[in-house]
Symmetry: C2
Subunit: 543 residues, 2 copies
């Protein structure tokens, strides 16, 4: 297992209180369960449980406030779909016998997103095992005009994976079989409900790795990853799912099974239809199986944690790094001094390097430890001697690797301890990646407690976070639509990796021109003329 | 410049005679101009001119037979589009003043494909400089119901880039400006008519390489590469254009400019519309600008040429190679003994290794010569000592690199000297990549002169070629649809990298199910309801 993945999971401890007002980007989380902030390199990690168990009702403490129904919190109107009847339940029972769930307690976990920010009121959850069962269900729902909410691991960040009203929840949880794996080509074909971590384990035992990795790997389904075009930790190295997914099987809104489950690296026979469904968040079809190209497992992993005197140096270090580390570079993350202040203050992590305006985390993954170490050493010599980097440390053993990754991965947790957090996930041209942070500090002045920037510099992805003592409508007004407009002026993306789902569908226009929106709507109308698939998601509400 | 690219170009010498019957896959080429077959490592290469000049009428010798009109050779009926009138020409002259070409001599080169297998009879060629001009042209053509054939470098293999009847030729040749290049991220944004080789030179001067490379690089346009989803030599390392293209600007059939020209690595705001146009061969829209991610330029390149005792050993060598060379592996090509016989016999190239049933060409590209050489050396020790490989040679200097690549790259030329060639470009599961070759040898017996298999093993792409003394209808009957049906049974692709264009649109059904064909037709109807964009291409003729 790639060692830095564990800390990311650990921060998502159970029992969160989330208050949300005026849009999805405003959240307030408080964590419980982190008793005694661990110091760097301490063995605390082993004691913490999987992050996402708190999604289920049984693990939510009785004292946790009930999440407000989405239809009550947001200005959204139910579309004229049919309402599930007893006859419908009987029909579903014939299609998926014994797998029609109507128990409200069980349904609760599937009606609420794991961030506890949105909540539907679905009365039925279906658990098909095969794509034929999915096809039967959708054919029936299409005829009956019943809305359907496809659901994988329910780990999304934008409310795309739970119903808004009473949509039928169609879970891929029981579609979890590996169909085939080719040990020469590294091509994995599996059902959509396979959990990413289990797939990782499966292919790693065979000398390969999954081309994507996420903090939510313990719960998320590969079908959901593809449907949301998940980015994650291996994006810099292995690229987008648009490149690594070789084929998909998709059930369309009317129950048609579209079999594009090719396991070929090359296929130039006609339009690449699978691409339509990657990132469409279940609004164009339900992904039932995935064929994906797995790269060989790296034999050596190193992490360097460095201090840089300015953002210009962070950029120059990246350029140098790409040149000297070349093919072994697998991550280039950055964080600013305020991030370090927050993790050292709130989580009592120790900074491994001298105080600096910026910090960079570089990971290498290669096939030969000695070569990788030599490349890294030469790179470090160069950036240190040229003054691009003022201090640094390197880890090769798994414990220290994890500790260095924790400094970057636990920023989100530290922010949540700092107060009310306004979160933005932006894609920007690399050279302007940090400009918005000092701009906002000047704009917000003392109204903000902290304005911090960190993220996947190698991918041009900024996580911009603003904290205040408590939620402040005036601070929100100062942030929105300013942040979105600023991003739009740079031709950036207002959702780099999280998607639109329910909560961000309204800001799509900041990153896409009207012609693109129109074509999206036309594609939706073509593929799902009744609009039954994951309604109220991805596409802006019709005016 | 990556050294192995030159030989690929050199084989395409001028003056070809192509006879074509019953489908595009049957071609007969004879080469003139290669006076005195060069021996390995001789300096002959410098004397040969660029391959693709023979496309222009001026470079086609007067004795070359005129290519039969497509409408006469193939059973295809003109659709009821309008015919270009004097008024239309006047209107075009207002849109692109001085760039409306009606001279039959100039038009000839754009009416005939470079393989000289198909020929349209267009009366007008337009040369816009901007996407706005393209938009004006398409808006006008859409209103007038005039069919349009978008054309880049006209280097396609399947007759997709020339008119079938009198479609207006819309050339991207004058849209050849680099719009921007980011020296930190390596993102190139350029107009669609930029020639691939010029872009390569441009980014290489800045320390990057284009993520694709092709034999036709000296002529092909990046817009055409994207429209045809070109594979090429760097596919194994940098993957598909679906992953490396970051954004596109496309003009739709009605003249709408769809600006998805993002230069961001990550953007999860809605459907990834650009993907629709990658590989759609100009039938859904005209690509006018491309944003593409360029990887850093490798500092060291090595080539190993090896002999293997069987195809099982070729596969095991590939697995070993992926493990030991890992991140520096950039090509894994194979050829059988008959291929070697053909290149040594017809081109008088010398085999650098002992006679073997199979040969493998491995290329590494890395950031550090010493490390790469060490990895390669250890890999070679292992495959030699285990018997997977029986003989081999390694090249590091550019001259020998080119010579080794020539053995693989010039197979196509050697085949053409052997007689009439039946060519197939198949994608197959790697473990069954070669099965069809011995199967066909047994099936065809003495009717075939040679049945050979070679190709991009690392990408699962087989080039299957059959030669006979002269074209034989009975041999063709023994090959088709047998080859397509065999490929379909393996869930392979009947067009791995060449696309469908005009010549292969009829065999699409072997690789795609009816539901996919139907969706393709629906997408075409949605985006181009009048069907004016590159008609008679990609989609099968309507029954």
């Amino acid at each position: 297992m790639v060692p830095h993945l564990v800390p990311r999971q650990l921060v998502w401890l159970c029992r969160r209180q989330v208050a949300c007002a005026r849009g999805a980007s405003v959240q307030h989380r408080t964590w419980a369960g982190v008793s005694g902030a661990p110091s760097l390199l301490s063995p605390w990690r082993a004691t913490v449980t999987s992050p996402l168990v708190c999604r289920s009702s049984s693990s939510t403490p009785p004292s946790a406030p009930k999440v407000v129904l989405t239809q009550e919190r947001y200005p959204v109107t139910r579309l004229p779909f049919s309402v599930v009847s007893e006859d419908d339940l009987a029909a579903f029972e014939r299609i998926v016998p014994g797998r029609v769930i109507t128990d409200p307690e069980v349904l609760e976990a599937s009606n609420v997103d794991w961030l506890r920010t949105v909540r539907g009121c679905s009365k039925v959850l279906l658990r098909p095992r095969t794509s034929q069962e999915v096809a039967h269900i959708l054919r029936y729902c299409h005829e009956r005009n019943l809305a359907v909410n496809p659901q994988g691991g329910n780990t999304g960040m934008v409310g795309g994976s739970v119903p808004v009203f009473d949509e039928i929840i169609l879970s891929t949880a029981l579609m979890n079989e590996v169909i085939s794996f080719h040990s020469v080509s590294g091509t994995l074909v599996c059902q959509a409900g396979c959990v990413l971590e289990e797939l990782s384990r499966y292919v790693e035992e065979r000398g390969f790795v999954m081309p994507l990795d996420l903090g939510a790997k313990g719960s998320c389904h590969i079908g959901g990853n593809v449907a949301t075009n998940a980015g994650g930790l291996r994006f810099l190295r292995y690229g987008s799912l648009h490149g690594t997914v070789l084929g998909l099987e998709v059930v369309l809104a009317d129950g048609t099974v579209l079999n594009c489950l090719s396991s070929l690296r090359k296929d130039n026979t006609g339009y690449d239809l699978k691409q339509l469904f990657i990132g469409s968040e279940g609004t164009l079809g339900v992904i039932t199986a995935v064929s994906i190209q797995c790269p060989p497992k790296p034999r050596a992993v190193n992490v360097a944690f460095l201090g840089c005197p300015g953002f210009a140096e962070v950029l120059q270090t990246f350029t140098t790094c790409k040149g000297l580390l070349g093919e072994i570079l697998s991550a280039y993350e950055f964080m600013d001094a305020e991030c370090m202040w927050l993790v050292t203050r709130h989580l009592r992590l120790a900074s491994p390097v001298q105080e600096s305006p910026f910090y960079v985390l570089i990971e290498t993954s290669g096939s030969r430890a000695g070569h990788d170490a030599e490349k890294l050493s030469d790179f470090l010599d160069q950036v240190l001697s040229s003054g691009l980097v003022t201090d640094g440390t390197v880890a090769t053993d798994q414990m220290k690797l994890k500790a260095l990754w924790a400094l970057r991965e636990r920023i989100s947790e530290a922010l949540s301890r700092d107060g009310y957090v306004y979160k933005y996930d932006l894609s920007l041209p690399t050279e302007r990646l940090y400009d918005l942070v000092p701009d906002l500090r000047a704009r917000l002045g003392s109204r903000a407690k902290h304005v911090v920037g960190y993220g996947h510099l190698g991918d041009g992805n900024l996580h911009l976070n603003v904290t205040s003592e408590a939620f402040s409508p005036s601070l929100l007004d100062a942030l929105e639509p300013y942040v979105y407009e600023w991003t739009a002026r740079q031709r950036g993306s207002v959702s780099a990796e999280h998607g639109l789902g329910f909560k961000k569908r309204g800001v799509l226009g900041y990153s896409k021109p009207p012609e693109a929106l129109r074509l999206m709507q036309q594609l939706k109308a073509l593929l799902d003329p009744k609009g039954i698939l994951n309604p109220y998601k991805t596409l802006p509400a019709q005016a």
